[in-house]
Amino acid sequence: MKKIVLLIALTLAVTACKKDDNGGNVINEVTVDLIFSHDWDGSAITNADFDQIQYTNAHGEELSISKLVYLISDVTFTNTAGDKFDAGDFNLINVRNNSNLTFTPGIEIPEGDYTVTFTFGFDDEDNIDQAYPELNSADGGWNVPAPLGGGYHYMRLEGKYIDSNSDEVGYQYHTIRANDMSTNPVTLQDTSFEVNLGQVTIGSNTTIEVKMNVAEWFKNPNLWDLNVLFSTLMPNFDAQIMMSENGMTVFSRGAVTQQ
């Protein structure tokens, strides 16, 4: 907490200096808030919805969600001239705990029209083993073990589903960089992907809602059969590719507000 306060203080100090340098120039540089919201085919997912077997995936399994934590990075604002603004930072969202549902990328940009994109997970450039103390310290270590190629988890989605014997069985839908341990060295394939939120007009107080439809992870293009793919997905190269493909339709832009 002290660290956060210090950071804010430093940011303020730096900002103040920047404005001084401009000699009172009127170009308004602003930050942008992203708000992450989550639903299952349109029905909102909040804390009370966790641990309830109340969803049915596209393949027909009934399931609950008990954990939904995921990483996004490199929120990038590209203006109409093609210039990119990117703080290069990341945000780890824990839906059940309501933590980091609002994220303000650490960059100020001039007001105007931008195409807004971000990366789900870390691309290979950022997915550096043990490089981020904040993530090493989160959730017992947000890391991927070295034998699986290291780096970081992108998402931990967990819960229970009703299997063909009508038993409640845990599933762990963990997305990471695809890895094949049968080769030496491990074969790795970047399965992070870019999410494009389209063009947004950024004003002095803009908030962009980013929606995740969790049902999409199980739907499209790969119809997900939890009876087969419910566990030990981290070392499953093909499953990681399929999860990444399904992820591409998970996010969409929600409300944009200027207040």
Binding site: A13, F50, P133, N136, G141, P145, L148, G159, Q172, S231
Partner: protein
Amino acid sequence: MILVFVAGLCYSCVTDNDDNGYVATPFTLEVPQVFAERILPPVIPEDNPLTVEGIALGKKLFFDPSLSADGTQACADCHRPENAFSDARQFSIGIDGSVGTRNSMPLFNMAWNYNEEFFWDGRAQSLEEQIFEPVTNPIEMKNTWPNVENTLRASDTYPALFEQAFGTTTIDSVRVSRAIAQFLRTLVSANSKFDRFLLGQEELTPSEENGLAVFLDESRGDCFHCHGLPANPLWTDNIFHNNGLDETFSDRGRGGFTGDPREFGWFKSGSLRNLAYTAPYMHDGRFTTLDEVIDHYSEGLVFSETIDPLMKKVAEGGVQLSDQDKADLKAFLLSLSDPSFINNPNFQQ
């Protein structure tokens, strides 16, 4: 400009010590290299910075039975240095012979518990707050705070020690808790064989190496999702889970504190450091050996509604580790024990 700002912040932290402007000798907690290179810095509250005098006072209080109603029980009686500040008894016994229902907890690396949720169920939100409990708990030290304060005020030594630590001879419960919390934050353990392996100073045996592989393998141990991994050498997530011990709960754990039925039977994942000294295991000390713990995860899991989804093959009791994998997992776990911690002269009475 930035420098002035930072200096200003630091200055205000130090003088925040107590309201009278007195400043004891600041103490900088040495962050072990294995932590410094990987995880976030320790959490030291701004209103209770570490000082040499505060830590010394806290240590004296921790080992002093006069905190209990009849002067017979110190914190250290249930938190013994040789047991990594845990209790070898399944349940600790209070001053009047009352037997508790939970196993005492080991005490180390608590400044790195970033969520600051203490006890098996996380009901204390800071170490300072935690300390208020055992002193007045009827099945533990069974004292009252006015009585503690009177005892300490009447002593020959304490008023001077409080003055050195806090700049005042006024003794109250808040300062007692602050001093003990300071001492507890200095209990750092980061010198196990595995730590030295991480620093490149020692090799693992083939058995320990395979044990680590089992620990990290989703299809075998998969312990790392709750108990950390080399990138997080605390070896705990400090989060609450149901790890499949019981079908019904006589102790509701986290759910008993929060009232949320979804959290019944959740307990804090213990750190896997210093297991060589902290038997028996689990919140109720039901397992006397590490073999029993490993057998539990391998074939003893039982289903209940709140069981964590990470517990696999529950219908078959678990993932059925081979005898070799079990032995190697145990060897790896024991490489996380740190003899220099339990023998550290700074932590002995």
